[in-house]
């Protein structure tokens, strides 16, 4: 048992790689044990055989093949380096330029986009505001809305309809005459002309009547002649309204 333990350490002992304690332990044992001394000689001679192994020299093929391999690797590496460099630079500049263009483009597009919607939304907002104001309980606000309605184009039938509505149904005479005045600007629309004639027939307020007579004469609406003649024939029509008709009727005849 003891011998087995020692024999396991013989290689380390010969290699000088044992700890001091183990080393002296082996030394001490070898002084008295012939068996282990024999084993030590065996191990020593065996290690000698191993150590006498000559390193083999490979054939020349190895160096030749290595040189070929190295040459081809170097050839592969170098042409890649030279033409690639300027190309790479050119490409990277292009990449930078492209990214700048994209950023600026996106910024401008976004700005443009928001401008369009802004304008559109301002216009829309304004229209809604005017339409709302036209229904306001305060007469002065309604007059303001009616005059503001001038800004809109002829095509905006919603505004025109709202104005005609004011012309017929507003309780306040001032609003009605203001509506008439504004509608005169859209006189190319047939519904506007019809509404003005109809209003002249129905409106009992003299201020509005006078306003309508002046407008119809100005826009040369010949279909209004009959309504005007009726006003002249009507006994209830005040004198100053009749005068206004007499003043404007000849321009239509």
């Amino acid at each position: 048992m003891k011998c087995n333990h020692i024999q396991n350490k013989l290689i380390g002992f010969l290699e000088n790689s044992l700890s001091e304690v183990a080393n002296s332990e082996v030394k001490e044992h070898l002084k008295s044990c012939t068996n282990c001394n024999k084993e030590l000689e065996d191990v020593k001679s065996f290690l000698n055989i191993l150590d006498n192994q000559k390193t083999e020299i490979p054939s020349n093929n190895l160096r030749d093949n290595f040189n070929k391999m190295l040459a081809s690797e170097m050839a592969n590496a170098s042409p890649k380096v030279i033409p690639l460099k300027p190309q790479q630079d050119w490409k990277s500049y292009l990449k930078v330029a492209a990214s700048i263009v994209i950023v600026i483009g996106a910024f401008l597009f976004g700005k443009h986009q928001s401008n369009i919607t802004k304008i559109a939304s301002v216009k829309n907002e304004h229209k809604e505001q005017v339409l709302a104001l036209l229904e306001n309980t305060s007469a002065s606000k309604r007059i303001l809305a009616v005059t503001n309605a001038e800004e809109f184009t002829k095509k905006d039938t919603k505004i025109i309809e709202a104005l005609i509505n004011r012309l017929f149904f507003d309780k306040n005479a001032n609003v009605r005459s203001a509506a008439a005045e504004t509608l005169a600007k859209f006189s190319s629309e047939i519904i506007v002309r019809d509404a003005l004639i109809k209003a002249l027939e129905t409106d009992k307020n003299t201020t509005v009547q006078i306003e309508l007579i002046q407008i119809l004469a100005k826009i040369q609406e010949k279909r209004a002649i009959e309504s005007m003649k009726k006003l002249l024939e009507n006994e209830e029509t005040p004198q100053y309204v009749k005068q206004q008709v007499e003043l404007n009727l000849p321009s239509l005849l």
Binding site: N8, I11, G12, E56, S59, L62, M69, L70, A77
Partner: protein, 176 residues
């Protein structure tokens, strides 16, 4: 250039100075060849595998991080041997015992010395890991500390395993 250390040269190779590899080839190819030849006992295969090691050095040159060059090149050599071993093992998996892989090749050995032949036979009867330790420590004279670094183990474990493998080899050698 000749006086530079392996590490300094390898860093320059990693930097693109491929021609310097021939200096490292001069310094290492015999050792690497002998490592393979002891492991597989076949000159042709050993030459091919040695060539592979230097090709791999070029391919993986950028992964070299200023460590001990000898340890690095042996790590590459071990990986190459390992994949060679797996490939051959697969090719004749049913014919031979895993760890006696190369023993058949001893018959085609051109060695003239009987002693050498006998030792080589004994060596091929060891397990792959045992054989490798003896090859690296005894034939390549790599220190235990460095072997531990190469195979990823502790110095003490490498020492104990190497001694055990040597003892086993001695028994096989004297038995036959």
């Amino acid at each position: 250039m000749k006086h530079l250390t392996d590490e300094e040269i390898m860093l320059q190779i990693a930097d693109g100075q491929l021609q310097l590899l021939s200096i490292l080839f001069d310094r290492y190819h015999v050792r690497i060849y002998n490592y393979f030849n002891k492991m597989v006992h076949n000159k042709m295969v050993s030459e091919d595998l040695t060539q592979d090691v230097f090709l791999k050095i070029i391919k993986y040159k950028t992964s070299y991080k200023n460590g001990n060059f000898a340890a690095w090149i042996y790590t590459i050599a071990r990986n190459i041997f390992s994949s060679y071993y797996q490939r051959v093992k697969k090719e004749r998996s049913n014919e031979i015992n895993d760890d006696l892989l190369a023993s058949e090749e001893t018959t085609v050995s051109e060695s003239k010395q009987e002693e050498l032949d006998h030792l080589q036979k004994a060596l091929l009867k060891l397990k792959r890991s045992e054989r490798e330790l003896i090859v690296m420590h005894r034939f390549q004279e790599i220190k235990y500390e460095q072997i531990a670094q190469i195979i990823g183990s502790s110095e003490n474990a490498v020492k104990v395993k190497t001694h055990r493998a040597l003892k086993k080899l001695k028994e096989i050698y004297f038995q036959a």
